[in-house]
Structures are given as C-alpha cells and as structure tokens.
Amino acid sequence: MAARTLLLTLANLLIPVAILVFATGFFPYKPFMPGLAEYDNLGWEDGMGWSNKSVADAPFDRLVFMVVDALRSDFVYSEGSGMTFVQSLIREGYALPFTAHATSPTITMPRVKAITTGSIPSFLDVILNFAESDTTSTLATQDTWLAQLKAKENGKLVMYGDDTWLKLFPDFFERADGTSSFFVSDFTEVDNNVTRHVPDELLNNDWNAMIMHYLGLDHIGHKAGPKSPNMLPKQKEMDDIVRDIYSAIENEDHLQNTLFVLCGDHGMNEGGNHGGSAPGETSPALVFMSPKLTKVTHAMEKKSPVVPKAGTEFEYYRMVEQSDVAPTLAGLMGVPVPKNNLGVFIEEFLGFWDDGRDRIQLLLRNARQVKSIVEATYPSLDFGDVVTQDHKKECDSPSTGQQLACKWQGVVDVMSTRTKIEISSRVGQLYKFMKAAQETMSSTASNYDVPRLVLGASLAVISVFLTLFTLPAFTPMSPQGLFYTLILVLYSILMFASSYVEEEHNFWYWATSAWLFYLFISASRKEWTANFILHPAIMVLVLHRIIRRWNQTGQKFAGADDIVHSPLFHGSYSIVLWTMIGSAYVDVTNRLSRHVARSIAAFEGLSGVALGAPDDEFDPNRLMAFIAVLPLGVTAFLFKLAFTALDAPELTGGINQDLLNWVASLGLVGIARMVFGGIALSAFWISVAEWKRAQGRRKNVDGNGDLAVALFDLLTLFLLTQTKAQNIPLYLLFRLQFFFLSTLNLDPTSLTTTTLLLTQTSFFALGNSNAISSIDLSTSYNGISGYNVTLVGILLFASNWAGPLYFTAAGTLLLGSHGGANSTRRHIDTSELDDRDWVREERAHLERLARQENIVAERKKDSGRAWSDHVSLMTLWTGVSVASVMVACAVLRQHLFIWTVFSPKFLFAMAWGIGFHFVGTIALGGLLWKVGRW
C-alpha cells in the first residue's frame, strides 16, 4: 500500500516536470540582445566613399502611429470599405498601402511586440498575454523604435488607447490614457476615450511620437463578426479621425515632417475572432501617410479601391511582414534599427534618398543588425567582412545556416568590388540576404531544443509506466476497463491528426454517447426496465445530446446552428433564457438553504435545544435558512443580470429596462465581491457546523457526507458566477445528468470513466475548443478592480474549466455515494431481483433495507481504495494525454500546422495536466472526498 502511494505520488510529480521541460524545449527562450542599438561602423569606407559614422538624412521627425485593433486589410482597401478618405489619399499618392503579414498567435500583445521590436515573438507570449502584468514580458528593457525615439534629443512619447501599451512600456509615456477592454459590448466608449485627446495633442509640439490604439472595431468583430451592421459606421468613424489628423499634418507647421501610420495589429476570421492563422486573422492593413510621400509614389500605379491578389482573400497591394515596420520606421525617422529586429526595410521608401550610397548605407545597417542575430544563432559559421575561399562550398550546402553565410558572402562580394557597379545590384544582394535571414530566423525549425523535447516526452512516458503499476486490478478484463483503455489509445492516435485536434469535441461526444448507451445495455442485462425509453442511462444520453448542441465549437463546422445562437434566447425571447437562469439560481439557493438549515440545527443541538430534522418540510429551520441564504442567491443572480446587460446586451432584450438601469447602477466589482464573500462565508459557516456535528457523533460512526454536498453546491454557485449567461441553463442539464447517474449504481471504474468523459464533454459543450481564440476572458475580472495576475489567472481558469470542475466534483460525490436520494441503495446486486416477481421484489426490497446499514459499513471499509483507484486512473489519463500531445508536437515539429494547431493544443494540455489535474481532480476532488466522511 505504501509502495503504491509512493509510485502514484512520483508519477504525479513527474507530470508537471515533464510538461515544463518539454515547454522550455518547445518554446525556447530566444537569445535577445540587451541595450539600445547605436549607429555602428559601416565598413568599406574607401570603396564607397562614405565615413564610417555617416547617417543618411531622415525625411521625418515626428510620428503618429494609429493602431486600429483587428483592422483587416479589406476593411481599408476593398470596394465596400467605409474608409473612403484613406482610399482617396492612396489614389493621390499621399498614402502607401500594404498588407502586413502577422504571424500566429494573432493576439494583441505579441503583435505589438512584433511591430515595435521587429522580432518574431515566441509562443510563450500567449501565456504572458493573459498574465498581463507580468513584468518579464514588458518591453521596458528591450530595444524598440519607441525606446529609440524616446532616446532622441527632446524625445517625448504620448499614448492613448489600449492599455496593453502601458503594460508593455511602463513609465515610457509623457502623457497617457489607457483603456482596457473589460466589455466587448462597448463599441463607443473605448474609442471616444482615445479620440477626445487627439485635437489637443495635435496642437502640442512637445512630442515626437503619438501612439493611438482603438479597440472598438475589434469589439464589434468579437460581438457580431466582420459583417456586423456596426462595422461600416465604425470604419467611417476611424476614417474621420484619419482625416482630422491628416489635415492637421497638412496645415500645422510643427507637424509638416510628420509620418502618419495607420495599421491593424491583426485581422479577424469570419466569426470575428482571432488568435489563429486563418488568412483573415493574419492580414491586417498597413498604410503610411504623409504629403511628402508623393516623392516615392509618383512613379507608382495608384489605384483604390482594389481587389485582392488573385487566389487570395485578403492580400491587397504588396504583402510585407509586420516586423518590417520597425526597421522602416527607424530608417524614416532617422534612428538605429532596434537590436532584435528581423524585419527588412520596405523597399518602396528607398526613393526618399536620391543618393544611391545613402540607400545602400541604410540597408547595410539593417543587414549588419540582422546579421548579428544570425551570427549569434550560428556561432560556428563565418559572417566576416572578407570574402573567403570556401564560400562556394557553403552555397551548395542544404543547411539553412550555411545558405545564409553564402548570401552574406555575396553581400561582402558586391560591397568589396571596387569597380563601379550598378547600385541596384548591391541593393538587390542586400535584400537577398535580409529576406533569407528573415525567413530562416522566423521559421522556428532551428529553434527547437530537441534533447529537451525528448526528455520531456520521456518523463511523461515514465509517469505513465509508474502509474500502470498502481492501477486497480483489471482481472478479468472488465468492459469498463476495456472502454477506458480504448479511450486512451484512440486519444493518443487522434493527437497526431490536426483535424481531430481541431475537432476534439467530436471524439468526446462520440465516445460519451457510446459509453452512456453501454451503461444502458449493462443495466438492462441485470434488470430490464419496462419503459426503457425512460431508463436513467437513456435520460443521461438524451441530456448529453442536448448539451452537445448548446455551443457549436471547433473549426470545420464553425458558425453552424447551435442552441446558444438560436432565436430562442435573443431579443424579446430572452425571457426564456432568464427563466432558465433563474431556475438554476433558485435550485442552488434552495439546496444551500437545506445545508444551512442543518447547520442551524447543529448549533441548536449543541446548545441543548431541540434538534430539528433537516429534511422535514415543516421545519422552521428550513424557513430561517432560506431567508438567510436568499440574499446570496439574489445577489448572485443580480450580478449575472448586471454583467450580462453590459457584456451581452442582446441577451437582455425582454428584461424590464428600469430593472436593468437599476442593476447597472450597482457597480459590478462590488457585487461580485459580495457574491464571492458570501460563498466564502457560507462555506466557513457550514464547515464549522458540520465539524461540530462530526464531533458530536460517536467514534467509528461516519457521517453521511453532507458537508461534501454543501461544498459542491457552493462550488456550483461560484461556477455559475464565472459562466456566461447563455451557458448557465447547461447547469440545469448537468444537474439532471448528475441525478440520473446517481440512480444508476455504477461501480468505481465506471464512475471514473463517466467522470473523465463528462469533464471533457462539458469543457467543449461550454464553447471551448483547442483554439486560443476560444478562450473566454470576459468573466476573468469579476470582482477585481486592478491587475492581479494570480486572481485573474484563477478566475480565467475557473471560467474556462467550469464544466470540468463541476463534473470532477460531481464524480467524486458519486464515487463516495454522497449524491442523490438513492445513495444508500448503491452497490446492491440488483441482478438478484431479475425474476420480475413483485412479491419477490418486495421481499428483496425489505431485505435490502435491512441490510443497508451493513452494506454502508462494508463499503466505507474499502472506500479509501476507491479513491486511490480513481486518482490512479485519472493520473494515467493525464499522463497518457500529456505524453501523446508531447510526442505529437515533437514528431510533427516541421508540420505546416505546428504553430496553428499543435502548439495551442500543447498549451491546453498544459492547462489540463497542471491546472485541471492538480487543482480539479486531486485538490478539489481530494477535499470533497475527505470531508465526505464527516
């Protein structure tokens, strides 16, 4: 027994270690160069006739950088765009349009990093994006064009809009006003907060860069997609702001050398979400504007609106990399290129310099800076300034590093040639090198730490093997054990198929249906129910069928009909939704009142007053308790209503407007805190009471686990608070599933299998998937006014894993047979009652009642074993799933979809493996199991 516990503990400890080791190899920490770049020596002084320190004059000294969140290319360039002023600037040659390719993950923080540093942010930034205030993710110490502009003489920066910038650049800005996107239903306030500062700032001449970041358009996308009726007016609003700023640049003297950049940080897909790498998400617009641009645009074809490049949906004009913005701005503003930049100066702007040597100088500095990163990555290769003899050999090598060395040799070659050669061939060679370096360095293949990948995956496999020795004996092989094994085997195979990673919910729905039907067959073998349609297992299956249609999730059928988007819940019908939500809250409140009534009775009992029977309908304690619990239930419900009125006003259509106005005036943070406080207080109160009751009982007599049920109901209330309104009716269905399952008399292995299937099913049914864009942030700030990574992280986890947490608790209760009215009937061999003779049945029933106490006592004896079996099976599952995801990621690391499908899956596997397994299965489950004996 002790050896088993030791093995199981070891296996469990290995899981997080394996995950972390693998993560450091999979998302390696990129070597980054500290400090600010300076203009360094150019080289080839004699040949080129320049001085080593010479710097080409910059055409601009001021920058207005306007980011419109999720500004997809077609929102600006297409026929149907509302940005007609920008289009007129393009036609007149005052604006130079591009499509800026954004790499996955297409969420704001990594994109801002790419734009400002010119580097390709690692996938780890996704995690840091959610842990927003983490100081390690700030760019305060990194080289960016912001830092360069600030370091300039009289350099002052101002910033208005998305506070991501304020978190990335703490204490950078002279003046700033950050807006946060708490509610995506806010389309106007977030933008007015920015726009109101613009007129004043345009009159100030103390800044040399003004950054604006508008969030409204992104919110419209999240709420109603790119075809929302609000989209065109928002584009027009943005266009008017561009017009105001542009005319100020034209008319104000102090702004005449101002470069005005309008860009999106990422785009959006057809659903209005982003995070992945669909063409719509990776194709934001990028427009440079200034009256001075005619100098470079006069020879170009100027057309607008246009259609995207043939064969693409969103590729308008020329496609550049988002990281190219950094060196281009550096060149145009006359500052050194940021040190970690992998971008390439945009060729169209070379026309600003008439002297060919200035152009080469600019590109050479860009190339030398990129080369220094390449050199750091391939320290063994020669990137010197002298032509070497064996560089021909390198050009034939298939190794990407040697190919780069060869291209650099080509640069050295053309730079060293004394004879007068065409400037364009030098420019061409420089671009050849930089483009190749950009491509190589941004492809991640060279960055994996393969030994660590192998080590991490091996540790996970070892954990699986250790767990195998702790498993409950499966001899003879039971069908439920077989089914469990089958799930694990199939899952491991599916993790290698990108489409099944995207459509993982289908696997769980499919397996769960079969399992529930098996439960029906299994029960029918023992005892045939005359009305088999109403058999509990069939009822759970019917409920499962409804639950799986609640939210459409996954990629392939994204946007298909589901219950949440049906007209049933919208507009004036939202009263239907709110009736269901109300029932969910009434149910929880009522159940809580039962526990509180018992607690009152417990204290009465102590003080020698009469003991009230808690389940008695005429119990005065029950009434008192209901009155005591009511405020908590009502507050929780009002919070949900107030939150939804702000977050999803389309769901509160049928609700009385005065009521909505009143709850809106209450202040969300305060009510949320009241709800959380109420839950904590109730938990404390009931725990003390149950502890007293437990003390009052004789030794050796176990309680009936009332405290576990009470904590489960409090957990339910907490999870309701963390769930979006449209998903709350699901808890009524979960509750029914829980009830029917409790009448099924399942054996422990079947219960663990059921728990596993329902935790997974409920995760996807609540609208989650293995895509980062499906992570729901909206309820993660409940009751939090500042930024607190830990609290936001806990709430984020609780809201996205609410379903799994619910079912892991429910499963533990079922395992301990604390759930439902029929709990004491469990584990009685009903096969004895098969003869359908009512007399026999009646007699058996009486016998059963008589034997009940013995059975309960017997079960308590080996119930400790039931829990450790459960843990060891769940550990096996976690180990197998984590190991298979790791092996899939390691084997498929060159796969086309590695960054779009498999890496996000690994992040989710991390959350399941560390977050859910330890917090949910072991900590929460263990607690409920422990107090279940009280």
Binding site: E503, W510, A514, R548
Partner: protein
Amino acid sequence: MSTTVIGGAPPKPRPPPTPISHLPTDSARLYTHIHPLLLLSLYTYQFPSIVADPVAGLAATLVPLAALQIAYVAVCLPPTGNGTGSGAGNGPASGGAGGEKRKIGEKKKANGSAGKSDGIGGRIIPAVLSVLLSLLVAAPLLTAALVLFGAPITTHHAHTLLCGAHIAFLAAIPLVYVHGVDGAAWRDAVALLLPVDEVYGGLLGAVCGAWLGAVPIPLDWDREWQKWPVTIVTGAYIGYVFGRLLGGTMLKGKKVMF
C-alpha cells in the same frame, strides 16, 4: 449459461436462447456466402449516386436492398418459430405476460405449416412481413438512436431517416424473420444476451459499423463522401458483412460477456 440467473435466484423456466443456423439445404449453404457479396456489390454500384445525392441514392438503393434481404432470409434462414435452431426464438418466459403466451400458440401453428411446406413460397410471406416490421418499427427506432448519437435534428431529416432505414433493413430484417415479435428475444438482443450467430452478428456488426462510420466525418480531407450520412451507411454495410461472417463462423454460439 444464462446470465440472468446469477446469484442463486430461482431457476427460470425460459429455455436459454440458442444460436440460429441457416437451413440445411444446398441453396441455403450456397446463398449465405453469395449474399454478402451481392450486398457489397449493390452498395459499391450505388455508391457514386449516393455520394452525389444521398437522399435519392439511398432511397433508390432501399428497394434492391429489401429484395436481397428477402431473398436471403427466405432462402437461408428458418422463419420465426421454426425448429431448425432447436427451439430458437420461441422462448418467451412462461412466467411472462399473457400476451406472450398467446403468441407462442400462434407460432406453434406457423411452425407446423412451415415444417410441412418447406418451400420458399411459404417463407416469402414472413420475409415480406419482416421487411414491413423493420420499416415501420426498427427504422424509426434506429433513426431516433441516430439522432441520440448526434445526427442532425433540425436539418437532413430525409438523410437520417433513410440512414436509419438502411441499417434497419440490414440488421433488423433477418432478426425479425427468425425471432418474430418475441419480446424476450428482442430484450435479449438489446441487452447483448443473445448468443452470436450470423443473424445477430450481422446486427451487432451493422450497429458498430455505423458508430465507427462517424470517425472520418471531422477530418479535413474535403471529400464529397464525408458528408452526412454516407460514412454511417458505408460503415453499417461493411460492419454488417463482417459481423455476419464472424458471427456465422468463428464466434458462433459465443455470448457477449460482461
């Protein structure tokens, strides 16, 4: 070997069900092997039109499928109540409801007449009745089961119904033919208590095949045949043929144990 009497309950009067064998005639022996090939040929031949237009294709295939199944049961199988399987199928518990008792009487009569006129003509009528029963009872039930397992509920009604009808024709016609409307046999069929034979094996195979047929749907192969319900029906056909084959040979007489 009845699992219903585990645990020392009084022994039950109902005889344990026994596996069905095909009729001991040469034509039965021959056709029982040709039949799966004919089924698969029919399905392969119709497959392109089913993929092109599932509703029209499946509807058109239903009639020849019924014809093939009628031919199969009439040529190869003992009709309900026939003694070939040594009491197979006529085992409603005498302790059961009165209605069941009445049915036994009926079957006894049918048994006698079938025994005398051992010709195919006498077996066509029960075969056609099996088709009707499968169409009217089994098909709706299987369609309901399909919906329960995730078939679309607001769209593709004809698709799902035809899919259910195909599975019913494959799996239920032979079973209805040999077991009739014997409630106990059907209960045992659902509870996996019947011994495996080529008829019951076919049912299990078709149902499992249909379930496994859902696996390719989410893959991103962008093939026409991934659409609903082509893979399910295909799985049912393949599963039926496999189940029949295994049930009639290797696994014959075995019971699903758990």
